[in-house]
């Protein structure tokens, strides 16, 4: 770890909190229906929506109605995304003439964007038309994020209401944050990114004259957009039908004319990048996401994009504190999230700063010194360096963002284990917008239950008694992602597709790739380790199912808990009540999250990154 690296991280934390406090307060105003500036400007749009769809904004729903509304809305969204992909060749806004998307990839992508996962079993610029990018994926970037937030709000109301049968209106909770939170923030961020040099256009490509013209046969994997060819990127065979004509490997050997121009894919990049960062979506415009210089051109853009990953998820803690009337409670949850994240940032930073033993044995000097930052630079953008890459890789997996600015596959074994572990914790350290906090609250319910027993009281959290029904739902919500990940990875180990097609690395590293794929999808993260071909039948289908199950089977029990809590009375606190704002509670909550995460995934990690590390450092 270098001083610059640590300095960057401290600066990051300070700016995050400084922006999070006012944003959290603002979001609380939006959710409680207090007037805001955005509402004065966009209020007519909100009311227009309600009139168009016949929604009465003050008509509240029971948790079941709320859940049905959320499910139907998300299902429709997924169907639309699927159909648009399958028909893109016949639809407008397809300047590069891309073909219809393969049905399995289309299913995987539709679920992926509907569930706020944004796992990409395809290469963005070479698979999806502008129409799909903006009308299907872009729209889902907004509404899947808003759905996550819309599930959190009833849970908060569950804590504050007493003897209530309703938990709010899904339509209002979906519309308001989209209009008043996500839209303004992403406009601000998009404008900033355009200023930094990110393209925002309806054109398909720019053509640049190559300084160093390539004679004859182009390399097999020449693809549009890879001007610096930063890394060996994932989903290899998903790159069919690029703008430069077919460039599949089987044509690699054929003669072709000399290349003097390179087409560079452009499009509505800035707007897409803004919302994918803010809404913890993560599906980049380009295949290599934010490692691409057009997605992430400057150090400043990198800092701001990285900040956007945690911004809303972190700020929601303050929103929570305000809405339940105990800011300390919000801070306790934010501190919990931070404590869960920081050791993993440190681990990755420390590991990546080490020279790779494989290179050291070849007498390559990769020690940090006055002349070079050193460390494991494989798979990292030279422009960004180790600290910015390590910070991004851990924050993007702590939050269920999944965008990357370096290739996690090339990390050292333990450096790459941090992202896996952070996802495996259930995306509760910051996590997805809304989903991270409600996930953490589910863990808090379990922590409070055990703690309540230990102090000899029927456990209560924020004055609400935690009883068998809540435990049933909470256990279910915790069980679902664990089951999705472990079963998905287990089946992957048994299908031939893994060994014949998917794996590019073998042994423990190959296992890490498989595990990463399912940990990422089973926790709705969406980042890719890389190295794994995930567009095959098994991976596209199983991954789609994992993402679906992990998202909605957590949303349903969460809303059920919200409904059940809203019905209960509020027990006034006494000295017999366990305080849930102090360090003791934070330690307990961190312990429960870590223990559940560790106990579920340690054996798998032992067979992947840990054994790989032990092989590398005998």
């Amino acid at each position: 770890m270098t001083a610059t690296g640590i300095g960057q991280i401290i600066l990051y934390a300070i700016v995050l909190v400084a922006l999070g406090i006012p944003l959290g307060a603002y979001m609380a105003r939006v959710y409680t229906g207090q007037a805001t500036f955005a509402q004065r400007v966009l209020g007519p749009v909100e009311r227009l929506f309600y009139r168009l769809f016949g929604i009465k904004p003050d008509q509240e729903q029971s948790w079941k109605q709320y859940a049905i509304a959320a499910m139907v809305f998300n299902l429709l969204g997924i169907v639309v995304v699927y159909l648009l992909q399958r028909m893109q060749a016949h639809l407008p806004e397809n300047p590069n003439g891309l073909a219809n998307v393969d049905p399995r990839v289309a299913f995987n992508t539709a679920v992926s964007f509907g569930t706020n996962t944004n796992w990409q079993a395809y290469g963005g610029e070479s698979t999806m038309s502008h129409l799909v990018q903006s009308a299907a994926l872009g729209v889902q970037n907004f509404v899947s994020a808003a759905t996550g937030m819309a599930v959190l709000i009833p849970l908060i109301r569950g804590f504050t209401r007493r003897h209530a049968d309703t938990v709010g209106s899904f339509w209002v909770d979906l519309t308001r944050p989209t209009l008043y939170i996500l839209l303004p923030l992403s406009i601000v961020l998009a404008v900033f990114l355009v200023q930094q040099g990110v393209p925002q256009t309806t054109d398909g490509k720019e053509t640049a004259a190559l300084l160093d013209a390539q004679p004859g046969t182009p390399p097999a994997d020449a693809r549009p957009g890879t001007i610096v060819s930063p890394v060996d990127d994932q989903p290899r065979d998903a790159t069919r039908g690029g703008v430069n004509g077919p460039a599949s490997p089987d044509q690699g050997g054929r003669e072709s004319p000399p290349v003097i121009n390179q087409p560079i894919a452009v499009g509505p990049v800035a707007s897409q990048v803004a919302i994918k960062q803010l809404g913890t979506n993560g599906g980049g415009y380009y295949n290599v996401k934010s490692a691409h210089p057009l997605e992430n051109p400057t150090p400043l853009s990198n800092f701001v994009e990285c900040l956007s990953i945690l911004l809303i998820s972190g700020a929601l803690c303050f929103t929570f504190g305000r809405m339940i009337g105990s800011r300390k409670q919000g801070i306790a949850l934010l501190v919990t999230m931070a404590i869960l994240l920081v050791p993993f940032v440190a681990l990755t930073l420390q590991q990546e700063q080490q020279p790779s033993p494989a290179l050291s044995s070849l007498s390559v000097d990769a020690q940090a010194s006055a002349l070079q930052p050193g460390g494991n630079m494989e798979g990292k953008e030279a422009r960004l360096g180790i600290s910015a890459s390590a910070l991004w890789s851990t924050t993007t997996t702590a939050a269920s963002n999944g965008s990357v600015n370096s290739m996690h596959d090339s990390y050292t074994p333990l450096g790459g284990m941090s992202p896996i572990f952070l996802m495996a914790l259930g995306e509760v350290s910051f996590g997805g917008v809304g989903s991270g906090l409600y996930g953490l609250l589910i863990f808090a319910i379990v922590a409070v239950f055990i703690a309540g027993l230990m102090v000899g009281r029927t456990p209560e959290f924020l004055g609400k008694k935690i009883e068998a029904y809540e435990m049933k739902m909470a256990s279910f919500a915790i069980l679902v992602p664990v089951a999705a990940v472990l079963l998905g990875a287990a089946f992957a180990c048994l299908v031939d597709e893994t060994y014949t097609k998917a794996l590019s690395n073998h042994g423990p590293h190959g296992f890490s790739e498989v595990l990463y794929a399912f940990v990422s999808q089973g926790n709705n993260n969406g980042s890719a380790f890389g190295g794994l071909t995930a567009s095959g039948t098994f991976y596209a289908t199983a991954g789609g199912i994992c993402m679906w199950v992990a998202r909605y089977w957590i949303i349903l029990p969460t809303l059920a808990i919200a409904g059940s809590l809203a019905k209960k009375k509020i027990v006034p606190p006494s000295s017999g009540t366990l305080p849930t704002t102090g360090p003791l509670f934070v330690v307990l909550l961190v312990g429960v999250v870590l223990l559940v995460g560790a106990l579920s995934f340690v054996p798998a990690l032992a067979l992947g990154p840990i054994v790989e590390h032990l092989v590398l450092h005998p």
Binding site: G452, V571, T577, L584
Partner: protein
């Protein structure tokens, strides 16, 4: 400072109970019973599965692992199940011994059924088992009362030792708060006409036997919630171990492709890992903790109608306590003399004692005790003295002798008395100003002033006050630290009530209490989210008892009160409420602590088993064997043995329960997290190592 429920002399491991428990442990292996406990059911299936693997390995000689290893694992897995069953049987055994004694009292007895509630009514003999509610029976001296009921007529002394264990007879009479009788108790003198109120098989004694035996034991709400969590964890660990097999297949296949050896993890090791990971410690002891909690209540002579009620007692945060008998000693007592101007304390004391010598009321006796204490000598009734008893008209009592008329009474009564008698020094006057001031002072303190006069001469004031029980204030302080509010209920006026409340250190009081405002108060507290406990004995307490979350009825009370409450205190001691709360808390705390301990244990088991399971595939994993266990087989076996033995080791804790300390929740949690959380994390390491040393030392693995 800790609060212990009353502990009886019965030892934890009574040899008779242990023998019976060992036998029962095998009987409980029936899968139809085991399925009620999902965690241990999984262990039983695992044990059966490894047993099959053993026979398979024995026959084919090419089984899952070496037959000896599978046999050892399998035996210890069976032990794990048996140990858990033994814990439950131990907890039940203690109750069963008591139930046997109670059953003797329940034998069928002849009953004399009357056609009407008169002694001379038509009689008919019937066995007690055929009595129906509404039947009227006559029980005479020496007979056993054939069923629960209310006395319609008669007064008798009754021996209730069969139920309460208390040998001194109690008086039962028609009307009032002592009209309930219990079947199986014996009338010692006189006779009673009783209306039967319980169907055969549903009597108090039957309920008590069922309760003690744990036969009708339903899981309590918290137990159900915890069961769900444990089942959830069991499924998680089932997934972890089941998926480990394909993961192992992957590793073996990749190693084989790279030219290595294709070792994969054995099913026996996976079953062993599963059993070690699922929360068997708490799963095995959970029902024992519940039964033991009920048992502790019974030891304290409190019969709860359900485990739910005991558990709710732990949640109670408002205690409604009757002033009389709970907070103060039953009656007011003389505590001070305030002589009038010109009168010495000795003169006042002497007169007061004389006026009280023939007064048999507790107040009168207490004046004598206090007066003799002040005077330092005994006082005898003078010859020819004529006691003047208290009457409702005069509202005074006293003594006449040698022409003196000494009176004590309420201040207005004495004022009227001296006005008519005439004070030789101040004829026609009422009470002197200083006496009036003393009267007001005493009343303001919540005590009762009695004025003493000799003829027309007012000598001074005797203060009668409620005497708060020893240590009760400390007790309430402990309650407060645990977050429990204490509320005193009294029929006194607000001034008196406030004074006593301050002295006893309760948080709140209800003065001039009526059944209605008691009920309202309970509802108010419940509306605000509190859980309320109270005690009561009278029929007019019944509505409030029914409304309260935890209601302890006194055994001496009416049938209505006992029906309305969810616990009956056989000792009829209202202070017992505090113990009831403690036992309830203890049950929850013991469960919480063992759950934490059980889960924390898993970390060490991973360190023992994971390297052992995969070291064949990846020799580098030996680095994770931080305990340096001697061999993979020994490592797995040591973890399994530890997992089984820890259940036995924790049986005493499960049966006795954690010590409840009077401390805020945060302090209790911090301490217990350190002991059971951090302790649970670290403790298994040395013990697994020790078992491994023993195994390898004996050359067993």
């Amino acid at each position: 400072m800790s609060i212990h429920p009353r502990v009886t002399a019965r030892p934890l491991f009574d040899p008779a109970i242990v023998r019976r428990a060992i036998r029962d442990a095998f009987g409980k292996l029936d899968p139809r019973r085991m399925i009620r406990n999902p965690v241990m059911f999984v262990v039983e299936i695992g044990s059966a599965f490894t047993t099959i693997l053993f026979f398979h390995a024995l026959v084919t000689q090419a089984g899952d692992a070496s037959p000896g290893f599978i046999a050892a694992i399998s035996v210890w897995l069976w032990f794990t199940v048996l140990f858990a069953n033994f814990a439950e049987a131990m907890a039940e055994g203690r109750g069963k011994a008591q139930a046997d004694a109670l059953r003797k009292a329940r034998k069928d007895v002849p009953a004399v059924v009357l056609s009407a509630a008169r002694r001379d009514a038509h009689r008919q003999d019937k066995p007690s088992s055929q009595l129906r509610p509404g039947d009227i029976v006559l029980v005479e001296a020496g007979q056993i009362i054939p069923g629960d009921g209310d006395i319609l007529e008669g007064v008798a002394s009754v021996n209730e030792s069969a139920i309460t264990g208390e040998s001194a007879p109690v008086i039962r009479e028609s009307g009032g708060d002592r009209s309930a009788v219990t079947g199986g108790t014996t009338v010692l003198s006189d006779w009673l006409i009783i209306q039967i109120s319980a169907r055969p098989g549903e009597s108090f004694l039957d309920r008590m036997i069922a309760m003690v035996e744990g036969a009708k034991r339903k899981k309590t709400p918290n137990e159900i919630a915890l069961d769900i969590l444990l089942a959830g964890l069991t499924i998680v660990f089932l997934l972890v171990t089941v998926t480990l097999y394909p993961f192992g297949v992957f590793a073996a296949r990749e190693m084989a492709a790279a030219g290595g050896t294709a070792h994969t993890v054995t099913l026996t090791v996976l079953v062993a890992l599963l059993v070690c990971l699922i929360p068997t410690t708490i799963g095995g002891l959970l029902s024992a903790i519940g039964i033991a909690g009920m048992d502790r209540m019974i030891q304290a002579n409190v019969i709860a109608t359900s485990g739910r009620a005991v558990e709710a007692a732990g949640d109670v945060d408002v205690l409604l306590l009757d002033k009389t008998d709970t907070i103060t000693h039953g009656n007011r007592q003389a505590t001070a003399f305030f002589p009038a101007t010109g009168v010495t304390e000795a003169q006042l004391a002497e007169a007061a004692v004389m006026a009280s010598l023939s007064d048999d009321t507790p107040e009168g006796k207490s004046i004598v005790v206090l007066g003799i204490g002040k005077l330092g000598r005994a006082i005898n009734v003078p010859e020819g003295a004529r006691p003047v008893p208290f009457t409702a008209q005069t509202r005074m009592s006293g003594v006449d002798f040698d022409g003196r008329t000494i009176r004590k009474g309420a201040s207005d009564a004495i004022a009227r008395h001296v006005a008519t008698t005439g004070d030789p020094h101040r004829p026609g006057a009422g009470l002197p100003a200083d006496v009036r001031a003393a009267v007001d002072n005493v009343a303001r303190r919540g005590a009762t002033p009695l004025v003493v006069a000799d003829g027309g001469h007012v000598l001074g004031v005797v203060q009668l006050a409620d005497v708060v029980k020893d240590r009760i204030k400390d007790r309430f302080g402990e309650m407060r630290r645990m977050g429990i509010r204490t509320v005193m209920i009294t029929g006194d006026n607000p001034v008196t009530a406030a004074a006593i409340a301050a002295e006893a250190g309760v948080d709140d009081f209800l003065a001039e209490a009526t059944p209605e405002n008691k009920l309202t108060m309970i509802r108010d507290y419940q509306e605000k989210g509190h859980l309320v406990a109270m005690t009561g004995d009278g029929t007019n307490d019944a509505p409030a008892l029914a409304q309260a979350d935890v209601a302890v009825a006194m055994n001496s009370g009416t049938q209505a009160a006992k029906e309305a409450g969810n616990m009956v205190d056989l000792d009829s001691n209202p202070t017992k409420l505090l113990e009831v709360v403690t036992v309830g808390k203890q049950m929850l705390m013991t469960r919480g602590a063992l759950t934490t301990f059980s889960i924390a244990n898993d970390v060490s088991k991973y360190f023992a088993i994971i390297p052992a399971a995969f070291v064949g595939t990846y020799p580098q994993l030996e680095a994770l064997n931080i305990m340096r266990l001697s061999s993979p087989a020994s490592a797995v076996l040591s973890a399994v043995i530890f997992n089984a033995l820890i259940i036995i080791a924790l049986i005493p804790l499960a049966l006795r329960g954690l010590t409840v300390r009077a401390a805020p929740a945060a302090v209790t949690l911090r301490r217990d997290l350190l002991i059971y959380g951090v302790g649970g994390l670290l403790l298994p390491f040395p013990f697994i190592k020790l078992i491994d040393l023993i195994l390898s030392g004996l050359g067993l693995a």
